[in-house]
């Protein structure tokens, strides 16, 4: 069935994946395809960015009609920053991994968030280096065993916690086995203005899929705890009542967040209930999840976005890349009068 742009879902695909059969990353690529199809995203407006690693290969496997850039290890955030400054009309979808973001790229990750660069930042998190055959990453569980290195003696870095501390205004966590939630969070993230972080546990079936690993399929399937049921209401939906303020949120109630493009994200709180609009609650939830090895998924944190980097810099409404040459070069008279000041 064609979407509003007359495109089939298959039109949003990319090249054939070269990842291992069953890789969590392929499920996420599929959800990106579905999200783009459902939201009628014009592919020419989308850019796909990545660093280096298994996850970073995936932009070649979805949205073939979009420009893609597979850059260098850990430094995709800077490429995303430059590209979205050049053209703020672009919809940027960035894919990274736990090594790309949590180790070599941790600095750029935090600075991207600090600047509120408008990008959907997906971390396909499997706790292991796949392309180099099985080293622990910085998000691996403390005390777990892997064939390559034996025991991991170091505590993991929680990339959602880093994002919240770093000033992110949209932070979600999910599990690649939970297609419905991944897709809902992707839709909300695309509607967000600013950096939207999605840390998605995405099992590596080859190197880190033992049931006791928190990054494995069996663990995710058995232990995922959804914080909410998430429903995405396309722009045009009229909220039935004024948005509920933080603090008024009671058990069983529904919370609705309006994104800047008019999309509503409706969260129905579940047993482990959590109000994503509270920064302290977000940190508490992440801290608890970390200490108890809980896979808590959903929208962890949301706030009304700060200005994006381009807005902070007071750039023209026309994207810089599309400015007419007459606006790029001051006149000869301007140069002549400037020269007078040096005479």
């Amino acid at each position: 069935m064609a979407n509003a742009l007359g495109l089939e879902r298959a039109d949003y695909r990319g090249g054939k994946s070269t990842l291992c059969p069953g890789c969590g990353h392929d499920s996420i690529s599929n959800q990106i395809i579905s999200m783009a199809y459902d939201l009628n995203l014009p592919m020419w407006k989308v850019i796909k960015l990545s660093g280096i690693g298994c996850s970073s290969k995936t932009p070649a496997y979805f949205l073939k009609g979009s420009h893609g850039f597979n850059s260098v290890h850990g430094r995709m955030p800077s490429v995303a920053t430059g590209a979205t400054l050049a053209n703020h009309d672009l919809i940027a979808i960035a894919v990274s991994g736990d090594g790309d973001t949590g180790s070599i790229g941790l600095g750029q990750y935090k600075h991207l968030i600090r600047r509120n660069v408008p990008v959907v930042y997906i971390i396909e998190n499997n706790g292991v280096y796949g392309l180099t055959k099985g080293q622990f990453s910085a998000t691996a569980d403390e005390g777990q065993f892997l064939k390559y290195y034996g025991k991991n003696d170091l505590p993991p870095i929680d990339l959602c916690l880093e994002a919240v501390i770093g000033g992110a205004t949209f932070v979600g966590r999910s599990f690649s086995g939970d297609a419905k939630q991944v897709q809902a969070l992707l839709k909300a993230a695309v509607a967000h203005r600013g950096t939207a972080v999605l840390d998605i546990v995405s099992p590596c079936v080859t190197f880190n899929n033992a049931p006791e690993s928190t990054k494995s399929y069996p663990y995710g399937q058995d232990h995922e705890i959804r914080l909410h049921d998430i429903e995405i209401l396309a722009p045009g939906y009229v909220a039935p009542k004024p948005e509920i303020a933080v603090g008024d949120y009671d058990d069983g109630q529904v919370i609705e967040v309006e994104m800047h493009d008019g999309t509503f994200v409706r969260l129905k709180k579940l047993e482990a209930g959590h109000d994503p609009r509270s920064r302290s609650e977000a940190m508490t939830v992440l801290d608890k999840a970390g200490r108890e090895n809980l896979l808590l998924t959903g929208l962890i944190y949301y706030e009304e976005p700060r200005p994006t980097l381009g807005e902070t810099l007071n750039l023209t409404a026309t994207p810089l890349a599309h400015l007419d040459d007459s606006r790029l070069r001051p006149s000869a008279d301007t140069l002549a009068s400037l020269m007078q000041k040096y005479a």
Binding site: A60, A86, L313, M339
Partner: protein, 614 residues
């Protein structure tokens, strides 16, 4: 730490006689004491008197307290190279005064701050001692400013001793404070006090003085980094990402100073984004992302930053993304000497990054070329779809230079083979295809699109991994070879695109000099002196890598060619030997790399020595 300001005088440099409008001053002060303002006021005053002048700030890597030396050279003949010998020493720094006095040339003029502790045991110099505190005490200066303003005392005394009209000094002060009268007047009060004091208390005992000329009419006085910033803004720059590092910082500072040039008159919104990145790794990532997405992007850095940018530069080379990287060089290796000049990055820039990479490097030799290469580099980057380096240096970037006013770009902005929607449609109509890395014109330069082009077939995948001409990942040996061969072919095309050398040629002369960048004033001056002693030379100044045919022709036309540069290893000499299609036994390396701007006397001595040994 004392700089060797006065190296032993080489023989055979004909006896130099300082005279009217032909001598140099050296000001020794403490860094951060405000002396820079005083020194620039002296330079501007001489400029306003119509006297060719140049200044070199030899400053420490420090904010306040360490010694700094500033040399000011007036030259009626228009020579602007650094001179090692400075006839006038203004010794205002307690830490260096003893050595500053000891190293003065015989017959020189010594001006000291009498409040310091020192002893003058030189009978061969003229001494003027200034009671700075007592002079300042005659005026009423705000307590917070008194120390900084005290350096204006030597300005006033120089005006009196060397015949600089005091109203010209005021006018220079006004310029220095951007026309703000209050600070200009406050500083001028000290100048006036010192001027009056000197008139009553000093008896002129030397013969050095200035008198008005007409050699700076129509000229400007500007720092290379300022010129480069203006050039970039007139070149359609849209994204700058950078990380502060001496001596490149003032390039971006100047872009910010001139941002009004690129604000929308109606909305006040900016057409240039300037981002201070978290490091050089991010700075180059940002400008590459921006260049990929259609911006005219640049960064400015120095050696250590270039090292950090190596990996990303290779990506931009291989994925063919335009961007501009200014390297304002300083002494390396490592942190080296952050505030001393060098041309030590040439070879590194030329082949930066792993694998078989080659880059375009523009080599401005003066402020006018900093402006020109400021805009032209952005054109060349888009035209050639590759990173373009502009290698300036601390001397050019941070010192004031006498220059012709800048010429407005003679060509419109060049976006190269960038296909927008309409051009892409026309391309398909004509060729029935478009592949990102296919060489349609036989010049090695493919056609590109940018993200956000509203066309279903505009997209392609950019990667640093192996790819075929359709931008598809490939591990095939033939695809790899084909791509590298085309990139090499593109590089050959670049030889015809980059700025050509400036050549001074006379077929009768059999000795050639090849140099580049800020050695230019020293080469020009040395050639005059050599000619006077019978050594006639031709001169070619390289302005870009890759080298153009003109360079090979020049080498071919001479019995021997001296390759003159300010690095330790003779890096251009190495490139010439690496690439020369014929025997290079006639290339002689004259590499300095002693942390200071080259003097004509050094070059003269080297060439004469070599010629006489033949």
């Amino acid at each position: 730490m004392v700089i060797n300001m006065q190296p032993a005088v080489e023989t055979r440099w004909e006896r130099y006689q300082p005279g009217v409008n032909d001598f140099a001053l050296m000001v020794a002060t403490e860094n951060g004491s405000g002396s820079q303002t005083s020194n620039v006021v002296l330079i501007r005053s001489l400029f306003k008197m119509g006297i060719p002048v140049s200044g070199k700030n030899l400053f420490p890597s420090n904010i306040k307290g360490l010694p700094t030396w500033y040399t000011i050279r007036a030259s009626k003949d228009g020579y602007t190279a650094r001179r090692a010998t400075t006839e006038v020493a203004i010794a205002f720094n307690q830490d260096t005064i003893t050595e500053d006095i000891a190293t003065m040339p015989s017959g020189g003029v010594l001006i000291t701050n009498k409040d310091l502790k020192y002893r003058v045991d030189r009978a061969d110099v003229t001494v003027y001692e200034l009671p700075v505190k007592a002079i300042m005490a005659q005026g009423e200066f705000p307590k917070d400013f008194a120390d900084r303003i005290a350096n204006m005392v030597y300005v006033g005394v120089c005006c009196q001793l060397f015949d600089i009209p005091i109203d010209i000094a005021y006018s220079a002060l006004l310029d220095q404070f951007n026309g703000k009268e209050k600070p200009a007047k406050m500083n001028f009060a000290a100048v006036q006090l010192a001027y009056d004091w000197a008139k009553v208390n000093l008896v002129k005992q030397d013969s050095l003085r200035f008198e008005p000329m007409n050699e700076t009419a129509g000229k400007i006085l500007i720092e290379g980094n300022d010129a480069g910033a203006i050039g970039a803004l007139f070149g359609g720059l849209t994204v700058v990402a950078w990380y502060p590092i001496t001596p490149s910082t003032s390039l971006v500072d100047n872009i910010l100073n001139h941002m009004h040039l690129r604000k929308d008159p109606e909305t006040g919104l900016s057409t240039v984004a300037v981002v201070q990145a978290e490091d050089e790794l991010a700075a180059i990532g940002m400008i590459i992302g921006a260049g990929w997405a259609g911006a005219r992007s640049m960064t400015a850095t120095s050696g250590p930053g270039i090292s950090l940018m190596a990996e990303f530069t290779g990506l931009a080379y291989f994925a063919e993304i335009p961007t501009v990287i200014w390297d304002i060089t300083r002494m390396g290796p490592s942190t080296g000497l952050p505030t001393r000049t060098s041309q030590g990055d040439l070879l590194f820039l030329y082949t930066l990054s792993h694998g078989d990479t080659r880059h375009i490097v523009l080599l401005p030799g003066n402020a006018e070329e900093c402006f020109e290469f400021g805009w032209r580099s952005l054109d060349i980057a888009e035209q050639m779809q590759t990173p373009v380096f502009v290698m300036s240096d601390l001397d050019l970037g941070m010192n004031l230079w006498l220059s012709n006013p800048f010429t407005y770009p003679e060509t419109p902005i060049n976006h190269g083979k960038t296909l927008d929607k309409a051009k892409l449609e026309a391309f398909f109509e004509e060729k029935n295809e478009w592949f990102r890395y296919r060489d349609y014109d036989g010049d090695g330069i493919p056609y590109r699109t940018t993200p956000g082009t509203e066309h279903t077939r505009a997209a392609y995948f950019t990667r640093g991994t192996g790819h075929n001409d359709m931008a598809v990942y490939s591990e095939r040996a033939d695809d790899w070879m084909e791509n590298m061969t085309r990139l090499r072919h593109k590089f050959e095309t670049a030889r015809t695109v980059v700025p050509k050398p400036i050549t001074h040629y006379d077929a009768a002369k059999r000795i050639g000099i090849i140099s580049y960048g800020t050695n230019d004033p020293a080469v020009l001056e040395a050639r005059d002196h050599m000619a006077a002693s019978g050594i006639e030379t031709n001169y070619l100044r390289v302005r870009a890598l890759p080298l153009n045919q003109e360079v090979w022709d020049f080498i071919d036309q001479h019995d021997r060619v001296y390759v003159v540069e300010n690095n330790f290893d003779g890096q251009l000499w190495q490139i010439l030997r690496m690439e020369s299609p014929f025997a290079q036994s006639n290339l002689i390396a004259l590499a300095l790399g002693d942390t200071l701007p080259m003097t004509a006397r050094w070059l003269h001595g080297k060439i004469v020595e070599h010629e006489e040994a033949l």
